[in-house]
Symmetry: C2
Subunit: 333 residues, 2 copies
């Protein structure tokens, strides 16, 4: 990358935090949100990192995101609770949910939280990773504004609907985290900016026909992995997030990228299961055996290890960020 | 289909039941297993239907399946319990688990069961469907003997690892149920028998290179949907079934199709969540809104409706089964 600057993790955090406070967010919400974005950036997940700061700040300014709201925990059943994110950022709501989820899952063996009136929830794998470090298997389901058409149809209904999963494993949890589109929309945007065509199989045009033109693809829909099976998985995640949280459907949610329109009111559902308890004490041994099979095979990699290397490099050397982005964030202060 | 015969559902059930009893199974286990296979056949899921009867009976005869064992329920936590299938058929164990799971999920809002020392669990969607008819969101995760290589590797480690999901919806639940291989192994077998080649993208040869030769494909590995993402999903399901049930890994499990070798000792994990409770009473309305979006779109179909049509036809007209299969089953009596 040319025209980049190295910025320390602490410095990045206070820079982002300052931008959100200047936009009108409370100190608590600004810190939670800045922490999540910097953590994403440090792991190499730039699409959920500092690049979000300007649009997040814009949304606080216009009131599309309530930067001052305090998320509220609502009890539902011994093993279930809800968190009203109050049209604020998702991170303070998830931060409230995780310790409560941990304590209920420890007591009962399993628990679930539904976050509603929520927003972009960043790297879903991070929330799962935090729970897995507590000995819990974790799932996060969340919906996103519409991008994928139901199989056989032309019109977008489903989000790219990320799914994240983590399981306790030493020294670091197994983390699986991806969206159900073949590629992120950002890749198509990048091809358009570079004036390049995209491979067939990434997207359909608005007429439902496969396209290699990024311009047409952006007007159409993203293709899910695995054809009919991936489209069904995207639907499953829509049900597990929007329907189960009682939130907006992906088809109803406005953009997460600008300050225009209503709050997106997305939903996230988080599950936690005590792995050792359900397995009769066998989980830790069995996942070690499984990882050992991967370690023996040439070419195989237990997922999630790549980002740990990136994380360590970021901690040692700081974050390498485009100068233009840092300037854009500084201008918000 | 040529050389088929129509057989009534009740008649099919007692025929299969008789074959298992003749092989040495208890009346209870024979009835549970026969019921599940006939239900699969009635839904058009032939790979999990009557075609399994001869190999199931052979496994009872050699003791690879303990046909007389009574599955045992073991408490773990308020929201978790285990079922020891005792190297018997999976169905009596799952039949024991479902009502207990329902009552715990109603009381706590969420619950999970792990079935271990288990066997082939048939149509995973049926177990989920039963829970969804009780108002519960349900997941079933199960592993199967190895068939899929980790992404980038040559050697099989993971099963085709089906995932099933159902959600309450009127008049019939939404059911999503599929394996993570691009196609079932049976399709490759069928191509070999017909002397035809298979499309690229179904399987790899033992050298890890894509093949269109069914003979070589059967010695190699099945490709997962969606490349690296599907391989990660297959791993996730391996962790959610084998590791979380404390059972055999897919790489350790012998065939489910013959009487040779040790019991497969597979694992299944079943989750149940009270959908209305977690959604603050909004689930039923939201899934109706989502289904309405599908209904408006040309070409889109809410999954699971196809098999309901097949089920109704089977109930009205009986099952159309190859004569040779019925003769093979009759010979077991």
């Amino acid at each position: 990358m040319s025209n980049t600057v190295i910025i320390g993790i602490e410095e990045a955090r206070s820079l982002c935090c300052g931008a959100f406070i200047a936009a009108g967010a409370s100190a608590h919400n600004a810190a939670a949100t800045a922490g999540a974005l910097v953590r994403a950036e440090a792991d190499g997940q730039r699409g959920h990192g500092l690049s979000r700061v300007p649009s997040y700040a814009a949304q606080v300014k216009t009131g599309k995101v309530d930067g001052r709201v305090q998320p509220r925990l609502e009890d539902a059943r011994p093993g279930l609770f809800r968190v009203d994110a109050g049209h604020g950022f998702a991170y303070p709501a998830i931060q409230l949910a995780l310790p409560e989820l941990t304590s209920r899952a420890r007591a009962l063996g399993i628990a679930a939280a539904a976050v509603y009136r929520s927003h972009h929830f960043g790297v879903a794998g991070h929330h799962c990773e935090d729970l897995a470090r507590q000995g819990l298997i974790a799932f996060v389901y969340g919906n996103t504004p519409k991008a994928i058409a139901p199989f056989g149809a032309r019109e977008k209904v489903l989000g790219t609907n990320p799914v994240a999963f983590a399981a306790p494993y030493e020294p670091d949890p197994l983390v699986i985290d991806f969206a159900l589109s073949v590629v992120a929309r950002g890749k198509i945007n990048a091809a358009r900016q570079a004036g390049k065509s995209i491979p067939e199989g990434w997207a359909l045009g608005p007429d439902g026909v496969a396209t290699t033109d990024p311009e047409i693809a952006l007007q159409g829909s993203m293709l899910p992995i695995g054809g009919v099976k991936g489209a069904a998985l995207a639907l499953m995640i829509e049900v597990m997030s929007a329907c189960l949280a009682g939130s907006a459907l992906s088809a109803e949610a406005p953009s997460l990228f600008d300050g225009e329109g209503d709050p997106p009111s997305l939903g996230q559902v988080i599950l936690a299961i005590d792995a050792q308890a359900l397995s009769g004490g066998r989980f830790a041994g069995r996942i070690r055996d499984l990882a050992a099979l991967y370690a023996e095979l040439e070419g195989a990699r237990f997922p999630g290890t790549g980002r740990l290397g990136q994380r360590q490099r970021s901690e040692e050397r700081g974050l390498e960020v485009p100068v233009s982005l840092i300037e854009e964030i500084r201008a918000l202060l």
